[in-house]
Amino acid sequence: MGSTTMAPSRHPRPARGAPVIGLDGVSFSYGEAPVLERVDLEILAGEFVGLVGPNAGGKSTLLKLVLGLLEPQQGRIHVLGRAPHHAVRWIGYVPQFPTFPRDFPISVAQVVLMGRLGRGTGIGWHRASDRAATRTALAEVEALDLAERRIGTLSGGQLQRVLLARALVSEPHILILDEPTANIDQRRESDIFDLLARLNERLTILVVSHDIAFISGYVDRVACLNRTLMCHSTASVDADFIHQLYGPNIRQVAHGGEPLELRHEH
């Protein structure tokens, strides 16, 4: 390719404050059991939104709907003004659990490079620009030194960074993360969220978490999901709010200087 060729066609970056994700009366069920009922949610460009709620409250299902992996039985979803499966290439997604076998013979750099699929025709080998973008993405998550390691040799925190790099390398407009700190130790939790806060300067971020108190220090807005959207506010997290969301069997434990932690009482 010559120096005069155009960059691959791109969806223009949405203006700050423009709606990028919209759910309008969305309902979904697996078979008989309803998972989501009449959910309305709008996320604007540049926002950092936390999606919280109890297990089996429908958080991961909502993400799968936004990613176009599932179709809602009722309601409408738009992402960047399109149907989700037409917008998915401008979304970077970090799953909760790696959806690949850990013993696969592949290096970290090759895994991240895979995030470049879906740009251009995709036929043939990687271009130099794909490899450059891989290095940039790995540097951004401070994992450049892991590039040649086999994927199965990484620790939980390292793997999380690499999966984040795989999501960033496609140069997305929206970043969606499902429990990004579930499999790593607590000391590293704030590292990941500091990184996300930096990325939020150019990306809209939707993050699912069970740790409502911890993420409230980072996000602009919390959306709480327990089959329906229970609240949708910038208000600070207090006991009433948690009771409303999780029910009365929850107790808030605060210990000196540490983030709030939620525990079920048995």
């Binding site: 290439r89 799953p95 959806t99 895979m114 879906g118 043939g124 080998w125 990687h126």
Partner: protein
């Protein structure tokens, strides 16, 4: 070994056999790597056994048995793939059914085809010494197709093998590439059947790639090493079997199987050493 080399210079059937082994090794190195990392050896077994049905029918109707084999293999691959993609629960049962039905159809047709009953053994166990010279061109063409498809779609095939959900999110048509991968397995199975026969096909498809997987950390180098190992096993097997007049296919497979066991033990020892070294390093 010297006798073998001398005979190789004199007899064109040995040269054909050697070439057939090398051509099959390329296919089994490339596709065997996918079969091993994607863990679809059982599926490949089902496809392989459906081949007998196609071969039997082709013989009965007076067609080229390799053509029948190819059609049956691709049909079985697409059927298994569609069930896996759209009807998850029944996959292993269906593979078992295709396995048995394919063999039964083949045996029925062969028993009704005059003069071919003795050849059943060579379908089951293969006979590399009987590969006709024109089949070499056919095998070379199949290899070329494999290499071309790999060159064009390596990234997509890698993505579908590694992480189907992520591939789907990157806009890769996962269903189509999964079916393509299974069809490539089918083509390779047909390649290999001519060399080692139906029963041993899975061995040559999986063992070289599995040995390579003990040592390398990328799919590409796994393919190269598996191809080289496949070539080594087929050529050495042919040479070793020639003197004492042993069947070539089983000799090749025993070599590959032996190498696999030894390699598995060695890689285990290496792994323990590495772990011990790491523990020592982090302790100091």
């Amino acid at each position: 070994m010297h006798d073998f080399l001398q005979a190789l210079g004199q007899h064109s059937f040995l040269q054909t056999a050697l070439m057939a082994g090398l051509l099959a090794s390329l296919g089994c190195g490339i596709i065997g790597t996918f079969v091993v990392v994607k863990r679809i050896a059982f599926m490949a077994g089902g496809i392989a056994h459906s081949v007998l049905g196609g071969m039997g029918a082709a013989l009965y109707f007076g067609l080229d048995p390799v053509l029948g084999a190819l059609l049956a293999a691709v049909f079985a691959a697409v059927l298994i793939g569609l069930v896996r993609l759209y009807w998850n629960a029944q996959e292993d049962t269906l593979i078992g059914a295709i396995w048995a039905i394919g063999m039964s159809i083949g045996i029925l047709f062969i028993s009704k085809t005059p003069g071919y009953s003795t050849d059943l053994m060579s379908f089951l166990f293969g006979n590399i010494l009987l590969v006709p010279h024109r089949e070499l061109w056919f095998m070379a063409a199949l290899d070329l197709v494999l290499v071309l498809i790999l060159a064009l779609f390596y990234r997509q095939l890698l993505a579908v093998t590694f992480d189907e959900e992520f591939a789907r999110l990157r806009g890769v048509p996962v269903g189509a590439f999964y079916l393509l991968l299974l069809c490539l397995v089918a083509v390779t199975v047909v390649l290999l059947i001519q060399v080692v026969g139906l029963i041993l096909v899975i061995a040559l498809l999986t063992l070289p790639a599995a040995i390579a997987g003990h040592y390398v950390h990328s799919l590409g180098s796994m393919m190269v090493i598996a191809t080289l190992l496949g070539g080594l096993f087929t050529s050495t097997g042919l040479a070793l079997s020639f003197g004492p007049d042993l069947p070539a296919g089983p000799t090749m497979i025993l070599l590959a199987g032996g190498a696999y066991v030894v390699s598995a033990l060695i890689s285990r020892v290496l792994q323990r050493r590495r772990a011990a070294y790491k523990a020592l390093k982090s302790a100091s």
